[in-house]
C-alpha cells in the first residue's frame, strides 16, 4: 500500500533527523537574543546592534517572537529558563525583570557597569529594574514615556486649535474637532491602551504627586479619593470624542487615523512617533507633539531592557559584549531616533533627534532632577503584573460601560488592586 510506505518512510526520516541534527557545537561567541522587535523600523534599529557585535566577532542568534507587549516571548522565555537553557539576553519589561532577578535567574554584569559608570548616566528610577541589591543584571535600551499627545497639524490648523494647557482645554479642543466633523480622539479600545490613556488622565487630574501616591505607593486614601473619582469622570468625558468603531482597534491603526487626518489627536506613548516617521511625516511640520495637557514637567515612563541571564562561563564574554554595545552612546542614539523613544543614557547628545525627540530628552533630564520621573502603571513600571492587570481590567470595564459610574469604578479599583497585591 502506498500510504503505508509513505508513513514508513517518514518514520525513518524522523529517526535519521534525530541522528544527524542533534549535535550542537560549543557556542562561546554566539549571542542568543530573545525579543519581539520584528517590524521594519525596530528590526532595522536592532540590526545596528547586530552589526556592531559582528565587528567584534560575535554571532547573533536571533530568537524573535512577535506579539503585542511580548506575551508570546515571555512565555517562551519562561519555558527556556525552566528547561535550564536561558538565552544570553532577552528583551524584558518592568517587573518581569524583577521577578527573574528575585528568582536568581539573572547574571551579573556589575564589573562592566562599574567600569563604564552606568550608575551615573542612567536615571535612578530605571536602576530599580536594571539592578538587584546593587548588582547590574540588565541594561536599558531606551526610555519611552506615555504622557504624550500626537496631533495632525493640518487638522489642527483647519479647526484653529492651539496647544491645550490643561484637561479642560483639551476637552474644548476635542469639542472643536467634533464640531468640524473630524474624529477628535483616535483611540484603540484595547485594555492596555485605555489604561495607558488613564495613566495620563490621572496625572493630569490629580498631579504627579497624586499619581505617585495612588499607583506607586498604592495609598488607600489616594485610591479612594475624590480626585480618583474625578479622574474617572474625566476619562468618561473623553469617551464622547472617540468614533463608534474604536473597540479592539490596534494602536497603530489609531495612529494611522491621525496621520491620514481622519482624526485630530492620539494619546499614546512615543512609540507612535515611529509610525509618523515611517509615513515620512515631519515633527513640527506635519504633526505636533505635546505632553498630555496638565502633565508638562513630568514623565510617565516605561523602558525596554535587555535582561542578562545567568549563563555558563563560556557565554559570559558574549553577554558582556552585548551589554557594552547596547549601552554605547552611538547605538543608544541611533536606535532611539528610529524607535521614537529617548536614550536611556542621559549623556547622549540630542543632535540626531527631531523636535519631539529633543523635547523628550530635555523632559527626562528635568523630570529626573525634579523627582517627577515616574513609572507607568499601565505598562508594569509602577506595580507588578498582577496589579497592573487588575488596573487594566477596571479601566477597560469602565471605559466600555461594564462599570457604570465613577463611584463604582473607584470602589472596584481599590478592591481589585488590593486583591491582586
Amino acid at each position: 500500500m502506498k500510504l503505508r510506505s509513505i508513513l514508513m518512510a517518514s518514520v525513518m526520516t524522523a529517526g535519521a533527523l534525530g541522528l544527524t541534527s542533534g549535535a550542537i557545537a560549543a557556542e562561546d561567541k554566539e549571542i542568543q537574543m530573545l525579543h519581539w522587535w520584528t517590524s521594519g523600523g525596530e528590526a532595522a534599529a536592532l540590526n545596528v546592534l547586530k552589526q556592531d557585535l559582528a565587528k567584534e566577532g560575535y554571532a547573533w542568534k536571533d530568537v524573535p517572537i512577535a506579539g503585542g507587549g511580548g506575551e508570546g516571548a515571555m512565555t517562551a522565555l519562561k519555558a527556556m529558563v525552566a528547561a535550564g537553557n536561558p538565552p544570553t539576553a532577552s528583551q524584558i519589561l518592568g517587573y518581569f525583570a524583577v521577578d527573574y532577578a528575585e528568582a536568581g535567574k539573572l547574571g551579573d554584569i556589575s564589573s562592566l557597569a562599574k567600569k563604564e559608570d552606568w550608575a551615573k548616566v542612567v536615571p535612578q528610577a530605571l536602576q530599580k529594574f536594571t539592578t538587584t541589591d546593587g548588582k547590574w543584571d540588565a541594561v536599558p535600551v531606551n526610555i519611552h514615556s506615555v504622557n504624550w499627545v500626537w496631533i495632525n497639524k493640518s487638522v489642527m490648523d483647519k479647526i484653529g486649535g492651539t496647544e491645550p494647557k490643561n484637561f479642560d482645554d483639551f476637552v474644548a479642543l476635542l469639542g472643536k474637532a467634533k464640531a468640524a466633523g473630524v474624529i477628535p480622539l483616535a483611540l484603540g479600545g484595547q485594555p492596555w491602551q485605555e489604561a495607558t490613556l488613564f495613566d495620563s488622565v490621572v496625572a493630569s487630574t490629580g498631579g504627579i504627586e497624586f499619581y505617585k501616591k495612588a499607583f506607586v505607593d498604592l495609598d488607600e486614601g489616594a485610591l479612594k479619593s475624590d480626585t480618583m473619582k474625578k479622574s474617572f469622570d474625566n476619562l468618561a468625558k473623553l469617551r464622547d470624542y472617540v468614533d463608534p468603531n474604536y473597540a479592539g482597534r490596534d494602536w497603530n491603526l489609531a495612529t494611522a487615523m491621525v496621520i491620514k487626518g481622519d482624526a485630530l489627536v492620539q494619546v499614546m506613548g512615543d512609540w507612535a512617533k515611529g509610525e509618523f516617521r515611517a509615513a515620512n511625516k515631519e515633527a513640527g511640520k506635519d504633526f505636533l507633539c505635546y505632553r498630555f495637557p496638565g502633565t508638562d514637567g513630568s514623565v510617565i515612563y516605561n523602558t525596554d531592557m535587555f535582561a542578562m541571564f545567568k549563563v555558563s562561563a563560556d557565554r559570559q564574554g558574549a553577554q558582556l559584549a552585548l551589554a557594552d554595545a547596547t549601552m554605547s552612546p552611538s547605538f543608544q542614539s541611533a536606535f532611539n531616533v528610529v524607535k521614537g523613544s529617548v536614550p536611556a543614557r542621559m549623556d547622549v547628545p540630542d543632535t540626531a533627534f527631531d523636535m519631539c525627540g529633543k523635547k523628550g530628552i530635555a523632559d527626562v533630564k528635568a523630570a529626573n532632577a525634579a523627582g517627577t520621573f515616574v513609572g507607568s502603571m499601565a505598562q508594569n513600571y509602577a506595580q507588578p503584573p498582577a496589579v497592573a492587570g487588575a488596573y487594566h481590567d477596571v479601566v477597560t470595564k469602565f471605559f466600555h460601560g461594564e462599570i457604570k459610574t465613577s463611584d463604582a469604578a473607584v470602589a472596584e479599583l481599590d478592591k481589585a488592586l488590593n486583591n491582586a497585591k
Binding site: A66, A79, G274, A278
Partner: protein, 315 residues
Amino acid sequence: MSAADLITSPPAREPARHSNLTRVVIYGLLLLFAFVYLIPLVVMVMTSLKPLDEVTGGNMFALPHHLTFDPWVQAWGEARIGVSDTAGIAGYFWNSIKMVVPAVAISTMLGALNGYVLTKWRFPGHKLVFGMMLFACFIPFQSVIIPMAVILGYLGEIGNSLIDATGYAFGFGNPTVNLVIVHVIYGLGFTTLFFRNYYEAFPTELVKAAQIDGASFFQIFRRILLPNSTPIIIVTVIYQFTNIWNDFLFGSTFAAGDSSPMTVALNNLVNTSTGIVEYNVNMAAAIIAAGPTLFVYIVGGRYFVRGLMAGAVKG
C-alpha cells in the same frame, strides 16, 4: 468531468434518486454554502493582490486596480523577520515539514495500534483506559508548558552528555525532535479516538477467524485492518496535519529561533508591534502557509472517498 470526479463518483447505493426540483434545491444550498465559505478567502486573495494604499484606502471587496504579485514575492522570500539572516517565510517551511511529517506519521501509527488493541484485543479495564486517553484531549495547554519545558530540558542534558560520550546527541535536545515528541503525546488522544471508533464497527469475526488460522497480532493488523483503514487514516492525517502545522503555542515556546516552525515566522511577520501593517503581505503569507495543508485536503480527499468505496464494510 475531471479525473478527480471519476474517482470520487458517488457511492453505489440508493438514497439519491431525487426529482429535478429537489436536485435544484440541493445544488442551490451547496452552492450558497460554498459561496459563503469562500467570501473570506476571496477577500484575502484580493487583498494580497493589491498595493498597500489600495488596501487601506479602498473597498475590501473591490477588484484590484493595479494587480501586483509583489506581496506574494515578499511574503515568500523578501520580508525580513526579526534580524535573522533568513528572509520571508520560505526558510521556515522546511522546519515545519521536518516536524509535521514524523509527528503525523508516528501519532497516526500509534493511534491505529491503540484503536486496534482497544477494539479487537480487549482486556479488563479497556474502557477505562480508552476513557482516560479520551479525557486527555482536554488538558489545558497553559498548564503543560512549564513542566514540559523542564522535561525537555532533561532530554537536552542527556543529549549533552551523549555528545560528550559519543559525539552524537541522537536527537536529544533537538528542538524539532522535541516538537515531534510534544505533538505526538498530545495527539495520541485524538488519533486513538478516531481509530477506536472506526475499528469498533469493523467485524470482529474476521479477526477471530484469522486468529484461529494462526495469524499473529501484527499480521492481523497489517493484513486485515490496515488495508481497510484508508478513510480513517485520511481523516486522522487531515486532523493531525492541520493541528500540528498550525500550532503556534508549542512551536513558539519550545523551538523559537532558527528551528521555529512556519507559524512562528508567520506570526512574526503579521504581528508587528509597530510599523505599517502590510495587510497584502500578511494575507499572501497566510495563504502560502496554508498551502501544504490544502494540498493534503485535496489529495487526501480523493483517497478518502475512493478508500471508502473499496473498504466499505457491507453486511
